[in-house]
Structures are given as C-alpha cells and as structure tokens.
Symmetry: C2
Subunit: 335 residues, 2 copies
C-alpha cells in the first residue's frame, strides 16, 4: 500500500523538496501542487517560472548551478530582442523560450493552463502529477516603496530590494481550484508544505479559497518544512518579506504564517530554540538538517518527513525499510 502525498511547492525550495519526495520510498504516491502566482506575460509570452522550475528539476533538465532555467542554455533570442530595443531584464534562454512559446500558443487555443502544464511536464518525461491550484489568473502583486509591483519585477528586476508593505493575490477570492487539485487533496494521507516562501509561494496557493478549505477539511496529516534557517532563507526573499509583513523572520514567523493549518512544523537543527514557542502555537515540531544542496540531502529529508508521518500515524501502511533512519534520536518529533 502506497501513501498519497500532496506537496505544495513554490520556488527552488519547492522543487528541491519535490525531488527528494519523488525519489523517496513513497515517490509513487506523490502529487505536486505548483504556484502560479508568479506567472507573467513577458514579451507577449506566458512565463510560469515556478512550474517550469518544478518540471525542469524533476526531469534532470534544470541548470543545477542556478537552480532554475535549463542547463546548456544559450541566449541568442534574448540578445536579439535587446537589439530590437526590448528591455530584457528577465533572463530567458533559447530552449526555455520554446516552453513559453508553446505554452502561449496552447493557452491561445483555449486549453486549461493546468492541462498545458501537465502536457509540458509529460513531454519532458515527468511521471509525477504536476497540478495547478487554479486555471484562473491570480497574479501576486506587491505593494512596495516603489508602488505596486508584479512578482517578477520585484524578484528579478529589482532583486528583492523594494520594501514590501502588502501582498495581494489578485482575483484569488473569485478563483476556482482545479478539480485535479481538489481530488488530490481529498485523497491525501499526507500534505506537505515545501520549504518555500510561506507568503508568496505557499500563500499564493492557499489564497485560492477552494484549496484552503479543502486542506482545512482534509483529515490528512499536515506538515511544513521551514524555509528559514538561523533567521535566513537559503534563497529568495522570505526572511525579508516575513519581517516587512510583521512576522519574525525565523522559524517562529513561519509557524505563525501556518497557524491552525499544521500538525507538524519541521525546522532546522539550528533553530531548536524556537521549539517551545512554536509548540505554543498548537503544532508539533521536529528538528533536523533542512539544507538540501545535493540529491542525497533532498531524499534524506524526504525520508525523514515520512518517518515523522509514520511516528504520528503508526497505523498507516508505509513501506518498512526505514528503521535505520528512525533510530536517529535527534530526528524524532518533540512534543
């Protein structure tokens, strides 16, 4: 019997966690819900950075050095666009352009964005279901000291420099969750929030009312991995963003974001001092090494998440080859 796992994933942290889970003992039961909040039309083409990062990572096509984009890329198209006077602040490689051209054409044909994402993933050879929270456009908008910005302008163009005062997921209230996502959540034994930005990655997914209530109503075990280690993100602006929006920029701030949603928050061993405060918010805590520089680290962390699940849900039929990991005392869930 396999475990049904739903991973909410955004950004590079989401892709790493997805990779770990895909290659874990429960990889076959994995479904991934990706973030489309940072989707954007660039040069008239529909770019979907988080979804592409997942597809490229999970099919070994990712540029491992950057953590995004395709490996062995060139940028002849972008250079030629620059010669046409176009502002090319967003790096798009020649092969990557094909993905955007294809996606844009399929959207123009009227196909659902989630069907297109699944089609592209399949063409790349991905076997794990890659789901979109919604087929509606729900762009993340950030109010900053430079005015309202779309996500890529904030993230890429201005390198996360602007001070954020508010985050909006435009149209989220009216957006419908995709049936595939709702079905996956309904079938889930375990829901995992990847170590992604809790506000603009996981938050953009949870902003879809149908997703939020499906997770609220799910009897699945729910855990998150903190993207903050010793007060800093591995990548991206989560720490700065937490601070700007009134959360503490540490594991506790992450716990506050997810309050009333989680059974368990997994934090880095460097953040043990927050355990009591997090437990006080009504969730369990587990400490382990959450950095995932290499494939081995990703799978190890994924296996540990499965261990935590099994400890909390001993009746559920997980495959058994996990005793060696379970025996590591520091990896146990603390109450």
């Amino acid at each position: 019997m396999s475990l049904s796992i739903v991973l909410l994933a955004g950004g590079v942290g989401g892709a790493k966690m997805a990779e770990g889970l895909m290659h874990s003992r429960c990889g076959e039961g994995l479904s991934i819900i990706g973030n489309i909040g940072d989707d954007q039309e660039i040069h008239g083409l529909w770019v979907s950075p988080d979804i592409d990062t997942l597809t490229y990572t999970l099919t070994e096509r990712i540029d491992r050095t950057k953590g995004w984009g395709l490996k062995d890329e060139s940028n002849h198209t972008l250079d030629a666009l620059a010669l046409l006077g176009v502002d090319t602040w967003m790096y798009l490689g020649d092969q990557d352009f094909a993905t955007h051209i294809y996606r844009t054409e399929q959207r123009k044909k009227g196909l659902r964005p989630s069907v297109i994402a699944a089609d592209i993933a399949a063409k790349f050879g991905l076997k794990v279901p890659l789901l979109l929270a919604t087929d509606d456009n729900v762009p993340t908008r950030l109010n900053t000291d430079r005015g309202w910005l779309d996500f890529q302008s904030y993230f890429v163009r201005y390198q996360c420099q602007p001070e954020i005062t508010a985050v909006e997921f435009q149209g989220a209230e009216q957006a419908n969750a995709t049936p595939e996502t709702l079905a996956a959540i309904a079938a889930a034994d375990l829901i995992i929030f990847a170590p992604s930005n809790p506000i603009v990655s996981i938050g953009a997914i949870l902003a879809i009312p149908g997703i939020r209530s499906a997770i609220d109503n799910s009897s699945a075990f729910k855990m998150a991995v903190s993207p903050i280690i010793a007060g800093k993100t591995v990548k991206g602006p989560a720490d700065k963003m937490l601070r700007s929006l009134g959360f503490s920029s540490d594991a506790l701030g992450v716990a506050q974001c997810y309050q009333s949603l989680l059974d368990l928050l997994v934090i880095d061993s460097a953040d043990q001092q927050y355990c009591d405060a997090i437990r006080a918010l009504g969730m369990q805590v587990a400490c382990t090494d959450t950095l995932m520089p290499e494939r081995g680290d990703k799978v190890r962390l994924a296996e540990e998440l499965l261990d935590y699940y099994q400890q909390q849900n001993p009746g559920n039929g997980l495959p058994q080859e996990i005793s060696s990991i379970n025996s590591v005392a520091t990896k146990q869930v603390s109450r």
Copy 2:
C-alpha cells in the same frame, strides 16, 4: 534633384533588386513596398518572411548562402519546440525568433503591421522606407491537388511540389492600402516590379485594389524585371506556377501577367527571342544580364534600370555619372 523610385518586391529576387537599387546612384529616393501575402502565424507567432528577408538583406544581416534568415543562426528554440512535440517544418532560428516574438507582441498591443515593420527595420538600421501594401491580413491561399494550402505550407512544407489550380489573396478585395504606400506611389517618378514571382509576390501586392488603381493612375514610368531566365526561375516556383495557371513559363508569360501595367519589361539576354512577342503586348523590352549573384551584379542591374528610365524620360534630372554604362549597346531599350 533625386528620383523617387517605388520598388514592389517579394522574395529573394525582390530583396536582391532592393539591395541593388539602395546602393545605386538613386538609392536615396528609394521606397520599397513589401509583400505580406505569405505572412503566417507559426507557433502562435506572426512570421513575415518577405518583409524580414528585405530587412535582413538590406542591413547585411541576411544569411547570404540561403538568401533568407539571419547569418550566424542557431536553432536551440526550434529543437526544444520539437521536443515538445511541435511540428517544426518551418525553419526559424534563435535570433529570428526574436523578430517574430517582438512583432507578435507589438501586433497584440494594437500597432499597425506597417508601423511595426518600419520599427523593426529601423531597429536593424535600415534607412530606406520599407512599406506594407496593407495593414489588413491578406493571406495567399493556393488551391492544389492536396487541397487549399497556405503559402508557407506549399512553399516550405511541401517544397512547391503540389500542382496549383488557383491562387487567392484572401480578403484582398476589402483590404485597404496603407497611406504610406499610396503616398509613395503618388510621389514616384519610377515604379519598378522586382524580379519576383509575378503571381504570388507582385500579384499579392497588386491584389490590393487601392494599390492597383494607384499604380494604374500613376504617371510614373513603370518597368518590371522578369524573374524567369531561359524558362526557369533563379529561385522559387514562379515558372511552375505560371505554367499551372495557363501562362507560358518564360519571359512572355511574365509580360502577360503584367499586360497593360508596364511601360517596359526588362528580360534576360538569354530570352531575346521573346522581344517581338512581348512588344506585341504593348510594352517596350530591354535585354540585359538579370542574374544577381553578387552585390556588384545587383548594383549594375539597378544602374541599368535607371539608364533605361533616363533614356525614356530624358527631361528628368538623374545624376550624370552614367555615360559609361549607357554606351553598352546591347543594354539599350529596343522598341
């Protein structure tokens, strides 16, 4: 005083003639009307092969070996599209994709196609006005033994193999000529039809009623260069197409296509035997070498066209450094 010249140009022959005229003694007075009949949406992008061939040729960016496309091209985007299952029968290079992406985005913004073409040409550094006959879509459609085909399918995909029974310029009757084109024709002293396909290149331009009547009503001297040499085209399917549509596939067939439009038809020295028959159609004939493999040949032919014009219009103030060319007896216009 400069001469105002309007060149109707399509395909590689049109680009060669444009290059010759641009570098001739009257290059400053040149305007070019390009053919948009073979424009087509490919992978959701608006591709305008004839216009791009003109822009790329006249700005030294053309792939001289192929006669179309950009030099130093790569095809990473196209290869990646093929991996996505897309049928990539139309070669589009990485740099070339930028042109199509940019054009498509500008069209989406609502800009007139002729404004976009001029903008792209200017960005490439072209000084000569490159005009579109119309801002409307007037796709060339070919009825063949494989059914109705768009031009690129016939030309590129099926390599001009299908037998053509009819040619249609869809929507031409309702299409409006651009004001820039009408102004250029109204101001022209000399109108030249390039050695392009008389049916689908020049024919697609003349199919716009406003263009046709402006040329009919113009007092400019009108000449064409035959694209057929010794019964064959240098490039493209003009010979085959002439035959299929009931014309003879030689200089006389070209003259028939242009009957009542021309003052002078320039044919290749290899086709002198058609002179009498062509004159019988009510136009003058000049014989010369019309092959233009190199820049020097293009300029030489252009200068000869200007000579013919000056012989026929001795009052018009052409620059004077042409006596050496005029002295070549075989290059004189025969009546």
